[in-house]
Subunit: 138 residues, 2 copies
């Protein structure tokens, strides 16, 4: 695990620091997505709030995590599956938000379907969020 964490950080030209290791570890352990608040809780107030913000920010830029669109004003992040790189994300899978446990899951095997847009609109990226009951809550 520690080796993997080290590898991911170095691959992205990030210096290996306590907060980055710990936060990356959280993402690797966690099945679903994490909000800023989750991370603060699970790190046990060990790191400054500003550090958490900055770490998430740089992980996002580097393509280590991606964020997930939501209807409320919460911001959630999940680990990128693979081959995402600086500025180029390829996590075009569907996200599932459970209305019971409110966990957010990356459905890595479910691709976002393409839709036919009205004339004049040219798509760049599509995101899809499905709410409902997850497999742990049914």
């Amino acid at each position: 695990m520690d080796v993997q964490i080290d590898l991911i950080l170095k691959r992205n030209q990030l210096s290996v620091t306590g907060s980055r290791m710990k936060i990356l570890e959280l993402f690797l352990e966690s099945k679903g997505a994490l909000a800023h608040g989750d991370i603060e809780k699970r790190t046990g107030e060990k790191f400054d709030r500003v550090t958490v913000y900055r770490t998430l920010q740089i992980f996002l830029e580097k393509g280590i995590i991606h964020n997930i669109p939501t209807s409320d004003n919460s911001v959630r992040y999940a680990l990128c599956t693979n081959d995402c790189s600086e500025g180029h994300h390829h996590d075009n899978h569907v996200h599932f938000v459970c209305s019971a446990c409110s966990n957010t899951t990356c459905l890595a095997d479910v691709m976002v379907p393409s839709v036919k847009l009205p004339v004049g609109f040219s798509p760049e990226e599509s995101q899809m969020v499905v709410t409902g009951i997850c497999k742990d809550c049914k």
Copy 2:
């Protein structure tokens, strides 16, 4: 216009007040979606921030407006096309966010396609957001 506004408010058992009329008017005029900030700007600081929050809140509950999922932490609202009622929205159309002008458009004619989920997941509602270049910016 004024008659229409009056009608919508009364149909939803809302008392007809200055702020509600004005904010509803903004939605009727505007082609795209509005964020809380847009509304504050366009009303010209005429109403208290709290009033705007509460008005949006009740419009949402009544099914007069719906909110649109975004990847950043912004909250955007758009007028419901029709037949949405208290607690029951039926705006299952695709939303388009322009990366040039950053306007958000309801693609009322484009339905959100359904996807096949892994076993154990039961869907309730699906939302889809497409980013790209809109017809005004191409």
